[in-house]
Amino acid sequence: MRVLIVDDETLARSILREHLARIPSVEIVGEAANGFEAVKLAEELNPELVFLDIQMPKLSGFEVLELLGERAPTVIFTTAYDEFALRAFEVHAVDYLLKPVEPARLAGAVERAAERLRSKTPAPSAHDLAVSARPPGRTLERILIRHEGRVHVLPLERIDFIEAQDDYLEFSCGGKRLRKQQTMTDLESQLDATRFVRIHRSFILNVERLARIDLYGKDSWLAILSDGSKLPMSRTGHAKLKELIG
């Protein structure tokens, strides 16, 4: 089994390597010290199994999994302590290891992963996992986008508005436009409803960017943004916005 180890701590990688070396079926094909490297190596080396640390600089383990999307290999998460993540793992029956890693548990997890690979059990979606691992009351804080082969980490406050196109979303931030495959409803459900309002079937607006509202016709309005751009607004969208800003 081709295995990739992802952890930002050298020692954490070395102990995993040491334990895995005793399992004959395992072949370690690579090690990554951060999320960006992990995404790159997972695509280049095509591992069957990844040991993925949750807390890493820049990209968390969940975000790495989200970026890999459909191509994601089987994953065993590793963490020292994260009560919310652990609950999510239990809910979605995802395998995880607690640090310090116990060799017997590690062997068991590898065996289960091999079993999953053989039976081709579909993995839980990275998105569902990330959502249930978020502490209660917290909403999405940044958007991950792969655009022209590069990973962009987009903090929400930089987004002006989001527009739905055929089967993807277009994020506008300071004149730049970035695309991501996702549905409007799915994104809307994850955003903080006091900061982002769906003003139209195909537009979500960052409320902070709103300069004024113009009446456009009967039952339709235009949202004028502080940079001058104009977005159409539906009747329900207008009502939602009114309720929020009073």
Binding site: D8, E9, T10, L11, A12, S14, I15, E18, N34, F36, Q55, P57, K58, A80, Y81, L98, K99, P100, V101, P135, E141, R142, V153, P155
Partner: protein, 359 residues
């Protein structure tokens, strides 16, 4: 709330005492005033109970003039006034009560003259006893309250200590450190041993320092350095640190465990989020009448808003304020790439010397 009216059983006991007083009064009337026995009972017992009810109001006077805090003259004047007023009301009602009880053909003025002296005497004694009783009850109540407050304070202090201990035993820190030890045992036993020593030192120090009220800055710096040494085993080259502590502030007294949480934040919310890592800088120096402490770290401009920093900072702020009052200040400045906490504490050289002498 009045302590006697608070419970029905207390009120019954209180009235029973006054009934006894009334019976004594009856005896005095029969033998001292040569009044008819039955009339004496009918007259004296209700009168005694009335005096008891009137005396209940003394509690509020006791409350408004706590002994030891009120000038003695004011107390005497107030009590004489209140006692006299109460006595006069009692005598007037007594006069009417006697008139009601006496047969129509008996002239009340003759009879009243006979027992007026007795009534004044009995009333004065009753009122004096009631005042004394109320003062005793007040003292008792106060001592019970003080006891309860002391207990509450103790519980609060314990809670604070526990909270700081829990913060100290950050599970992430503990489990990750143990993971490092487990990793080192395989290929670098000397380093593994060193890590165990560092962890023992860190936990021992934070336990003992956490119990103190104030400690010299050098101790707190030592704890922060131990913490960073442990984290450096984990993060390797990514974590660098620089300490610049001026010699004349090493003995300044500071609240325990106030620098360490800041350094911990600098690592976990700052350096840990950077691919290349960064340097945590701690400086301390004198600035006019103050000691200025600064903890600085680089941070990731794209970092997600962190959990927990706010709590840690609030904790430090409240501790600094408890120890130094409003002359101390905690200032936070965050830019895209740098996070900086600076603390100003009043410089108290004498204080430091004293602490060293007792240590």
């Amino acid at each position: 709330m009045h302590p006697i009216l608070k419970r029905r059983s207390r009120l019954f006991l209180y009235l029973a005492v006054w009934i006894v007083f009334g019976l004594l009064l009856t005896v005095v009337f029969i033998f001292g005033g040569r009044a008819p026995p039955l009339w004496s009972v009918y007259f004296a017992v209700p009168m005694a109970m009335l005096l008891g009810m009137q005396s209940l109001s003394f509690w509020y006077l006791v409350q408004s003039m706590p002994p030891g805090e009120t000038p003695i003259v004011r107390m005497v004047v107030s009590w004489v006034g209140a006692g006299l007023a109460s006595l006069i009301v009692w005598l007037v009602i007594g006069y009417m009560w006697a008139q009601y009880l006496l047969p129509d053909d008996v002239d009340i003025t003759d009879e009243a003259a006979g027992i007026l002296g007795l009534m004044i005497f009995a009333g004065a004694i009753g009122i004096s006893l009631a005042v004394l009783g109320h003062y005793l009850a007040g003292a008792f109540e106060r001592s019970r309250n003080a006891e309860r407050r002391a207990l509450e304070l103790q519980v609060l202090a314990r809670e604070a200590e526990l909270k700081s201990l829990r913060a100290q035993l950050d599970p992430h820190f503990l489990f990750n450190s143990l993971n490092s030890v487990a990793a080192l045992i395989g290929n670098d036993t000397a380093a593994a041993r060193q890590m165990c020593f560092l962890m023992a030192q860190f936990f021992r120090k934070s336990l003992t320092l956490g119990r103190e009220q104030a400690i010299p800055l050098s101790e707190e710096v030592g704890l922060a350095q131990t913490f960073l040494a442990i984290e450096r085993v984990r993060f390797g080259e990514r974590l660098r640190s620089k300490f610049d502590i001026a010699a004349d502030v090493r003995d300044v007294v500071v609240p325990p465990l106030f620098l360490q949480p800041l350094v911990e934040n600098a690592v976990h919310h700052g350096v840990a989020h950077l691919l290349e890592g960064g340097e945590v800088c701690v400086t301390a120096r004198r600035r006019e009448g103050f000691v200025e402490l600064v903890v600085e770290n680089p941070c990731d401009p794209d970092r997600p808003p962190s959990r927990g920093t706010g709590v840690g900072l609030a904790n430090v702020r409240s501790r600094v304020e408890t120890l130094c009052g409003h002359r101390a200040s905690v200032d936070v400045s965050a830019t895209d790439e740098k996070f900086r906490v600076s603390i100003l504490l009043p410089y108290s050289g004498a204080n430091a010397a004293e602490l060293r002498a007792t240590a």
